[in-house]
């Protein structure tokens, strides 16, 4: 197509260069248009709805901050927020701990590393719905782990967290850690492999023990990996939706509701669209507070 344009207009170099100037922007424009409409336009629209009296359908009468005050007065929202705080902090802490441990251990010239690594990572390829289904039955006292232990002769073994209001949120942590900790391992392993061995050798000549070597030198050098892991895990935690739906459906009762499930049920099943929009805005602001500084730093660094 450009060849045609070229052969017929060889003499008109001016037009050609001008066309060439425009082609890149033209090529980029569908993506930019989609982004402007479907991402940022939609965000603004949802922000607008969060200040409106929308119930079952969007309405445009502004009611100020009423949705937000209402939201923060709802015990269901507080449950969701507190659950998120518990879930996110445990999820991030445990994933980081397991990921770092596995990465350090795997980095000791392990035989069969090539076999172990894919085993740690494969859950990442599964859908949260599949993970949720698998863990739901595994944790079910009737047919799962508890039953198995009883059959193996450990009669007093009890593990009914998934049916327990106070403990169910921790089952979500278990399943989520199972799914993503291998990924965190891979991030740390990449960080470890990037460390110059000479630094370690020098420290060792100075008489540093293995423990001190890791504590004083290696772990501080892994700071970028810690930061990436934190940001990725935190944003996954805020977005967690599928896993809750598949594992507990938000129950027992409302014991495992998270903001993502709260938003969905308030908007689409309880017809409280304004309140639902307000909760979505709060989710977005949480993620923006985590991601924006990170992305900004990353993009600046690249220059």
């Amino acid at each position: 197509m450009s060849t045609d344009a070229m052969s017929t207009q060889v003499t008109d170099t001016d037009l050609r260069t001008r066309l060439q100037d425009w082609i890149p922007k033209l090529v980029l424009s569908p993506s930019v248009a989609m982004m402007v409409v479907f991402v940022y336009g939609f965000i603004l629209y949802t922000v607008y709805l969060s200040f409106s009296g929308s119930r079952m359908l969007p309405s445009y009468d502004l009611i100020g901050l009423a949705n937000y005050t209402r939201l923060w007065g709802l015990s269901a929202w507080w449950t969701a927020v507190i659950n998120l705080a518990i879930f996110a902090s445990l999820y991030i802490a445990i994933c980081t701990a397991i990921g770092l441990t596995l990465a350090i251990l795997l980095d000791q010239k392990i035989r069969g590393e090539g076999m172990l690594r894919p085993i740690y990572l494969y859950p990442m390829a599964l859908s949260f719905i599949v993970t949720g289904t698998a863990w739901k039955w595994f944790l079910d006292p009737g047919i799962g782990l508890e039953n198995t232990m009883h059959l193996w002769g450990w009669e007093s073994f009890e593990f009914g967290w998934i049916k327990d209001r106070n403990m169910a949120i921790y089952t979500i942590v278990i399943a989520a850690v199972w799914q993503t900790s291998g990924f965190v391992m891979a991030m740390f392993l990449a960080g470890l492999r990037g460390i110059d061995n000479e630094i370690l050798k020098a420290a060792q000549i100075d008489g540093a023990s293995n423990w001190n070597l890791y504590r004083r030198i290696v772990i501080p050098l892994l700071r970028p990996a810690f930061l990436s892991a934190f940001v990725i895990l935190a944003h996954l935690a805020v977005k967690s939706y599928d896993l809750v739906i598949a594992l507990t459906g938000g129950g027992p009762g409302r014991a495992t509701e998270l903001p993502a499930t709260f938003m969905y049920s308030y908007t689409f099943t309880r017809n409280q669209m304004g309140t639902g929009a307000a909760s979505a805005v709060i989710m977005l602001m949480t993620i923006a507070a985590i991601m924006m500084p990170y992305l900004y730093a990353e993009l600046k660094e690249k220059k």
Binding site: T3, Q20, P24, V27, L28, S31, M35, F38, V39, Y40, G41, Y45, T46, I98, D107, Q108, K109, I110, R111, P118, Y120, L121, Y122, A125, L126, S127, F128, V130, T133, A134, W135, K136, W137, F138, I143, L145, N147, L151, M187, L200, K201, N210, L213, S228, V238, K239, D242, A246, P259, A260, T267, F268, A280, M283, L284, A288, L295, Y296, E298, K303
Partner: protein
């Protein structure tokens, strides 16, 4: 044994090494356990699950649960099995992956080799769109898809996945092309090659690896998506939504073996991709954490 450790600076004794292997193997079991339970129990008759041990291998091996999950299980109100939903997922994934990857490649090319003022800001805005909680777009998306007549249809889902996928594909190609020598592109320009010719002749031939990364990432993400499928799937629900309907259905006897078989069916395509091209999948994951 000790000789193996010598070329790293860290030295470990025999007892420590035994301990290390022990921990690593225990974790491997932890990751494999749910998969084992699913596979083993999907091959058992229902009675063996409810009356037996989930860790045991099947006493009587049967593929009945798999056949039931595939073609006769009750999904919602229809006893269609997962087959039609599997097809829906395929029909959704193929165009969505293709379109988002092509757009990502072109965007990455423009953003690295045809730079213009403000391109970094545009890219930053695109990148941020990968990480937004999608709850923020659900309401307007539902409205717009309805207005466009795409609600509850495969093309609607394709559109949604393309829109929220191009951020990642653009990221991949941008970082990849950024490492490609711009001098070569300049030289071709001086020789009179145009925008598309340079892309086709110079950049595309070296884009194999990153295309594999992008395709695998998009395939996995879109196949595994639940939120958009559940919100906008309507009559064309993808596999994940159907699986959830199958597992959560409250009517009749809970056929655990069929649920397990269904879960594996839903996981099979992405697992297969992982087994065949795991290296590229991991690369995509790592690039997804922005560090390129």
């Amino acid at each position: 044994m000790a000789a193996v450790t010598q070329d790293t600076a860290i030295r470990t004794g025999r007892i420590t090494r035994t301990f290390i292997y022990l921990v690593l193997v225990l974790f491997a079991l932890f990751y494999l356990l749910p998969l084992y339970v699913m596979v083993a129990n999907s091959l058992k008759p229902l009675g063996e699950i409810t009356g037996g041990n989930m860790m045991a291998l099947p006493g009587t091996w049967t593929i009945e649960p798999w056949l039931a999950a595939w073609s006769t299980a009750q999904i919602g109100v229809e006893p269609t099995g997962l087959k039609p939903y599997f097809l829906n997922s395929i029909l959704m994934v193929v165009p969505a992956v293709a379109i988002s990857t092509v757009l990502g490649a072109l965007n990455g090319y423009v953003l690295t080799k045809w730079r213009f003022p403000g391109d970094n800001i545009l890219f930053g805005l695109m990148l941020f769109s990968c990480f937004i909680p999608f709850q923020i777009v659900l309401i307007p998306m539902a409205t717009i898809l309805g207005k466009m007549g795409l609600a509850g249809s495969i093309p609607g889902l394709v559109l949604v996945h393309v829109v929220y996928g191009i951020g990642f594909t653009t990221l991949y190609y941008r970082n990849y092309y950024a490492a490609f020598p711009t001098e070569l592109v300049r030289a071709a320009m001086i020789d009179g090659a145009g925008f598309f010719r340079i892309f086709w002749r110079i950049l595309l031939p070296v884009s194999g690896p990153i295309t594999v990364v992008s395709v695998i990432w998009q395939f996995t993400n879109i196949w595994n998506d639940f939120l958009f499928g559940a919100s906008f799937g309507g009559q064309s629900q993808p596999m994940t939504v159907a699986l959830n309907n199958l597992v959560q259905s409250s009517t009749g006897v809970k056929e655990y073996n069929v649920h397990f078989a269904g879960a594996i069916l839903a996981a099979l395509p992405t697992l297969l991709v992982y087994v065949v091209a795991g290296r590229y999948f991991v690369r995509g994951l790592m690039a997804g954490s922005v560090k390129g």
